[in-house]
Symmetry: C2
DNA sequence: CCGCATCCCGATAGATACTG
DNA sequence: CAGTATCTATCGGGATGCGG
């Protein structure tokens, strides 16, 4: 079976990015990859995100069954977010992206040093 | 050495997405993963992209040394695009994304069948 | 603390027409 | 064929204020 047909690959990649589209979703998932987090913790962790964006991106991810939202009846209320089992299948994707990012940063640093 | 620190991962993922940001870049790279292509071939392959977007996204990818642009002195002129050696290092990333997309599509189809 | 509603602006994408 | 120019529509996303 030939998976590596170009058109097939394009469609598949498109499907994935459709779920992960938007400026913050990938970072949100990356943040939740190893631990559940509360709303305010997420906002602290993800540099530059506003409450509005965090809220709407979380909602979309929840809609796609990638994460679970749990309201804790504390005073005041707190909300925990964690990846679902399905969301965890993205862990490998995130790790691959992170690996490349680390190499890429080294590459950039090297280029600057060459000047 | 602990790579799986959350903050480190977030930064690395962000670095990668910084290079791949925009609606079309990932699909362009996916299209070029297995073969060089001409401008019009790319436009045919990538569903819905306009010449303007293709042009500007290609320019940014070239700027980041991910692909190489070759003008062929045919009549009329043709231009070939191909991934650089550095761009090819993204192949694994693309494949991981494609794999997940394929699984995800099955998942969606399954959910619809459940109704 | 969490997060919705509203207003607003600038960036970006798309359509269309044009050029070497 | 491989783009560029221009115009317009759309959308991301910030600021602020409110409510549970």
């Amino acid at each position: 079976m030939k998976i590596k047909c170009c058109k097939t690959n394009l469609m598949a990649v498109h499907d994935t990015m459709d779920v992960l589209k938007g400026r913050w979703k990938i970072q949100i998932i990356a943040a939740l990859c190893y631990d559940k987090m509360r709303f305010s913790e997420l906002q602290k962790e993800i540099d530059g995100i506003s409450a509005k964006m965090l809220s709407s991106e979380l909602k979309e991810l929840e809609f796609n069954h990638l994460l679970k939202r749990t309201v804790l009846q504390t005073q005041p209320i707190t909300v925990e977010y964690e990846l679902t089992e399905y969301g965890l299948t993205l862990k490998k994707v995130i790790e691959t992206l992170a690996d490349w990012g680390i190499k890429h940063r080294k590459q950039i640093v090297g280029e600057i040093a060459d000047n």
